[in-house]
């Protein structure tokens, strides 16, 4: 497979690829590479931080059949907040260092599809692992699992959805955001399907509970069919609509291929997906399609903040000594994992970029990796003061972020890469004429300085 295509593949199903792996893969066929990708993601490894303290509190309350008193509730909330930060950091580490990179990238994709948020660490961790578990599996089982997650029944009020007083929130978003897309159902469909999801709830420990007495067993008419439908029946009927396959494939396409949809490509994918709603199959189809590697798709997408952070860590492993700073950076860049703006999720694409985020993105690599220093040494002119300048930068900016960048790792990884080839490893797209001219006027002091220069370009925002 062509190196250019392998790089493209890995930038989309992961966060980039290092020279040694690239070199190894370039001797293999496309089919073999993609097979290996799926094989590596076969297994599901849950992501877990230690929540035993909270679980013990839940368990003892459950055994006694009591509700938590106000003080214990506050204690759990406080613990939960701490643990959410831990989970956030652990997730980013997982993204940067996983063997099953495709499954992890898919999990990240689904987290912005089945959008959910909850204060309870145990519920949200469980939800997060449900995303991971089903990320490449059967979409129908996936939707059903999501509909029964404690965090989701809380987030979209299925818990409050009772026979006597239906709450339509989940039913509406199930169709509008999770399966069909706006305008592909009627208000009556929402009303009727909300009745089918009555009785969905959870216990304190976060297990699904079906409250039979709150469930409306009466007849419902949904998409022209009538019966005493359950929540599962409703999901069956939704998936019978070809529109569902089309909607999901459109979203996958926009995330993995291009912001701008090509109707023909999406229809091809939908035909594959509609057959069995197997996510792995449609992903495989997409990744082996010739059009996936078309030039107009390469380097054409704007990285999300998480892709930006994890991508940077892939090239230069960077440790955040203060995890709160990692969270702070996510906040400033506009995407805090586990903390979506609302159920519609992050809009993505151009909307990642505003005046503040572009300025920060350009400055962040130098801030995190090089004491804010971007070398501007002119070609052929040795800057005697370069070292002094760097020292001054270190004094002034070095303390802003407590990060340790592993440049030795970088140097080993890129040792055999010719400087003329280096750019292709860092940037996914061509450099604009004026940036190219400027870079050519500068001395390539070292691969490290060159790397920081390239990462400080608008082009580095592309993947």
């Amino acid at each position: 497979m062509k190196t250019k295509h392998i790089q493209h593949l890995y930038r989309r199903i992961g966060f980039g690829i290092l020279p040694a792996t690239l070199n190894k893969l370039s001797k293999k066929s496309e089919k073999a590479i993609i097979n290996e990708l799926f094989k590596a993601s076969k297994q599901f490894i849950p992501l877990e931080v230690d929540t035993s303290e909270i679980k013990a509190i839940y368990k003892s309350a459950f055994m006694k059949g009591e509700k938590l008193d106000a003080e214990t509730r506050r204690k759990v909330q406080k613990l939960s907040r701490m643990k959410q930060l831990e989970l956030n950091v652990a997730w980013i580490e997982r993204l940067a260092n996983s063997q099953d990179v495709l499954r992890e990238k898919m999990t990240l994709f689904w987290a912005n599809h089945f959008v959910c948020e909850d204060n309870s660490i145990t519920y949200i961790q469980q939800f997060n692992n449900t995303l991971r578990k089903h990320a490449l599996g059967d979409f129908k089982a996936f939707v059903n699992a999501v509909s029964k997650e404690a965090a989701m029944t809380k987030y979209l009020n299925t818990k409050q959805n009772k026979k006597q007083r239906p709450n339509e929130n989940f039913a509406r978003e199930l169709m509008e955001l999770f399966t069909l897309g706006v305008g592909n159902y009627s208000e009556a469909d929402i009303k009727e399907s909300a009745r089918a999801f009555t009785g969905y709830s959870h216990n304190l420990q976060g297990d699904f509970v079906f409250r039979k007495r709150a469930h409306d067993q009466g007849e419902k008419t949904f998409f022209g069919k009538t019966g005493s439908f359950s929540g599962e029946d409703i999901i069956d009927i939704i998936l019978e609509q070809k529109q569902c396959a089309k909607y999901i494939c459109g979203k996958i396409y926009r995330y993995f291929v291009n912001d701008l949809i090509d109707e023909n490509h999406v229809n091809e994918m939908a035909n594959v997906f509609y057959k069995d709603y197997n996510i792995e199959n449609v992903m495989r189809y997409m990744l082996t399609s010739g059009w996936f590697y078309n030039d107009q798709n390469i380097g054409s997408k704007i990285k999300s903040p998480i892709e930006f952070i994890v991508g940077l860590k892939t090239i230069v492993p960077t440790d955040f000594k203060n995890p709160k700073q990692l969270l702070y950076i996510q906040k400033l860049l506009g995407q805090i994992l586990l903390n979506p703006p609302n159920v519609a999720g992050w809009k993505g694409g151009k909307s990642w970029i505003d005046s503040n985020t572009i300025v920060l993105r350009l400055k962040l690599p130098s801030l995190l990796l090089n004491n804010a220093y971007i070398s501007k040494e002119k070609l052929g002119e040795v800057d005697e003061y370069a070292q002094a300048k760097k020292e001054a930068f270190k004094k002034k900016y070095g303390k802003r972020f407590k990060t340790v960048a592993n440049w030795e790792y970088f140097n080993t990884q890129f040792k055999n890469v010719a400087i003329s080839d280096f750019q292709k490893h860092v940037l996914a797209c061509e450099v604009s004429e004026s940036a190219k001219a400027y870079l050519q006027s500068l001395e390539k002091v070292s691969k490290k300085e060159y790397c920081v220069q390239l990462m400080s370009l608008p082009e580095y925002q592309m993947c």
């Binding site: 948020e117 912001d259 701008l260 970029i353 505003d354 920060l360 004026s434 400027y438």
Partner: protein
Amino acid sequence: MDRRKFLKQSSLASSLFFVPSFVRAFEEVASSTLGYKRLVIIQLSGGNDGLNTVIPYRNDVYYKARPTLGIPQKDIIKLNDEVGLNASLKPLKRLYDKGYLSIINNVGYPNPVRSHFRSMDIWQTATDANTYSQSGWIGRYLDHYGKQPHSAIEVDESLSLAMKGEQFNAIATQDAKALYNLSKDPYFKNIHKHKNDAHLSEHNLGYLYKSMIAAESSAKYIFETSKTVTSKKEYPNNKFGKQMKTTAQFINSRLDTKVFYTSLGGFDTHVNQLNAQKRLLGNYAESVEAFVEDLKDNNTFKDTLILTFSEFGRRVKQNASVGTDHGTANNVFIIGENLKKQGLYNNMASLSNLDDNGDLKFEIDFRTIYATVLDKWLEVDNKKVLNKAFNQLDFI
């Protein structure tokens, strides 16, 4: 037709031809001397307890529902025979006495949501309770009427959803110098030296370059314009006080900005509310009074309207921890010099006719306030921004 509109329209007509630069220069001077209406939004985050802010002190139901949380009559700053203000709002009372304050009671929206995130989301995006939007109302105002990122400034580190449009975003800064420093590395200037670069027209990469150039220019403009002014007023020495001081500095330096967004958090008073709320409201009122005086000293108050809201009010009945739980409708404060309706805009909410949760039933949809501000103050078509037609009120 007033002079400003005339100038706007005549410049529109003349733009069909070549506009001599002296005409444009004249136009800029004219519009800044004729006044430039701007909006300042203050968001009280956490759900301020409106009932202990604007208090129906003659209502027995109020004291019955709040045996240890109700504020005794003697501590209340009376506005009339029925209604008074929390004692920590003395500075606000002074604005009220000057006719600068309009209190709109019982503001909310249909099918109220009692989650902080979601309800704030609804206020910021101005959607119905069952619709989700990825753009905010000021953001959509910018989509249609904004010119530069600094057309709207959030005085904070990053942008709220309220300030993000479909195509266009505001800029956030609480420290103009820091933002400028971050953006001014010569390296960034040098990579886009050549204009008319073909890349500028490219879909996503072009957008990045354009955003970078606009950000650099806005950061520079905000810093260089605002540094000419320093405020002599004393503000409370805390984050919100500083935000208001920075906002005043921005306004008084005559920044070409239509909307400023600020916020004060901590209003989620489930436990021991009395002192916590007193401190917060005191900080709010003192900062706002200093802000108004600062603007008046610089002749900019007459062109400024201040809107204060919170994502919801709180339950009528106090809870077991001498606090209150999440509720629904709340009051909104409008502060400005030439209010059409000063003082209490409407009656207080009924405390006996409550919903099933024991919460107030709203009377005024908050989007009618937005619509009024958009139409009558910012002079734009509110329907384009709110995606729906709303009745207008007559407080301005």
